[in-house]
Symmetry: C3
Subunit: 142 residues, 3 copies
C-alpha cells in the first residue's frame, strides 16, 4: 500500500475543452508503479473543471463549448456577481456542473480508461493562467 | 487493507434511467468482505453515465429522461459532431453533466446508501450494447 | 494506513447554496491526523447535494440558486412525479447534476482546497430537515 501526492501545473489554455490525458500521464509517471489503485485528480480552481469524454474527434470538444455557452449564458438578467467580468459567474456554474475532480481506476500501471475516453481540462475563463492540480494516487505498488 | 478490482458488464438497456443497485451488488459480492471502505464504480463509455437518485418511484427516472432530453436537445443548431446520429452529441453532453463514476462508502459489508438512494445507469443512446464498468474496492476486510 | 468513517449531521438550512467547509472540518477533527490522504463526503439524500465553489463572495451562492431555479424550473409541463410538491422533482434533478459526493485531497492534516474553494451544501427543498453525511477518510496517519 502506497500513497503518492503530487502537485502539477497544466499550462495556460484558451477557453474551451482540452484533452489532457497525455499531459497528466507524463507529469505523474508514478502511476506506472501501481498494479491496482485509484488516481484522484483535483483542480484547485472554481472557474475551470475536469471531466471525461470522447478522445478522438475534436468537434466533440467544440460542441461542448458551444453547448455550455448556450446553457449557461453570460448575460443572464438575474446574475448579481458580475464584477469580475461577464465570463466569471458562468465559469463558476460550469465548474459546479462539470465538477472539480475525477477518480480514475489504475490497472497494471495505467489509467484504466475506456477506448474512447480521455481526460478534459475545461477552461471556462477567457484569459486564464496556469491551472494547479493535486494528484493523489493510492493502491498496491507493483 | 485490501484492494479488489473487478470488471463487470451491465446488460444492454433501453435509453433512459435505470436502477442498477441490485445488479451491481450481485456482480461484486466482494463488497460484503469489507468492514469499512469505498466502492468506486467507473463506466468506460462516453455516452452513458452513472448517478445516484431516488430508488422508489419509477416516475422519477421517467422525469429525468424527459428533463435531460429537453435540456440537451438533439437538434441544437450549433452541433457539428453529428455523423454518429442525432443522439450521439447529446449523449456525450449528458455523460459530462451526470458523470462517469461514483464513489460510495462501504460500511459493514454494505454500500452505505441513504434509505431513498439507488444507483442509476443512465443510458443515453437509442441502441446501446452492454456497458462495461471497472469496480474498485478498497478498505479494511472484515 | 488508517481508515476513519464518521456519520455527521448538518443542521437544517434554507433552500439555497451554503458554505459548510468550517462546519465539516469541526465535525471531523480526525482529518488533522492524516499527513496524506483523501476525504470522501457523501450525502445520503436525493434532494440536496454537495459541490465545491467560490468561498468569498456570497453573491456567487445567490446566483447559483437563481441559475439552477431557472435551468430546472418547477413547472416543467412534462413532470409526472409531482405528488411530493413542486420543488421535489427539481430537487432530484439538481442533485443529479451537482452530485452526491465529493472527494478532497488531504495534505498535512488539512483539506487541500484551493485558496478560493469552499465546500457547499446545496439544499434544494423549501422545508428541509437536517442532512446526514457519511465521511470516510483514508491515508497515512501523521
Amino acid at each position: 500500500m502506497t500513497w503518492v501526492q503530487r502537485r502539477i501545473t497544466l499550462g495556460p489554455k484558451p477557453r474551451g475543452f482540452h484533452l489532457v490525458t497525455a499531459e497528466i500521464e507524463s507529469k505523474v509517471p508514478e502511476i506506472r508503479g501501481f498494479s491496482v489503485g485509484l488516481a484522484h485528480l483535483f483542480i484547485q480552481h472554481t472557474s475551470a473543471s475536469l471531466t471525461i469524454n470522447e478522445n478522438a474527434d475534436p468537434t466533440v470538444r467544440d460542441d461542448m463549448e458551444s453547448y455550455f455557452n448556450d446553457a449557461v449564458p453570460e448575460d443572464a438578467p438575474f446574475f448579481v456577481h458580475t464584477a469580475e467580468g461577464p465570463d466569471d459567474m458562468p465559469a463558476h456554474l460550469k465548474s459546479a456542473i462539470l465538477g472539480s475532480s475525477l477518480l480514475v481506476p489504475i490497472c497494471e500501471g495505467r489509467l484504466d480508461l475506456g477506448t474512447w475516453q480521455g481526460i478534459y481540462l475545461c477552461e471556462h475563463r477567457r484569459r486564464a493562467g496556469p491551472r494547479h492540480l493535486v494528484v493523489t494516487l493510492t493502491g498496491e505498488s507493483s
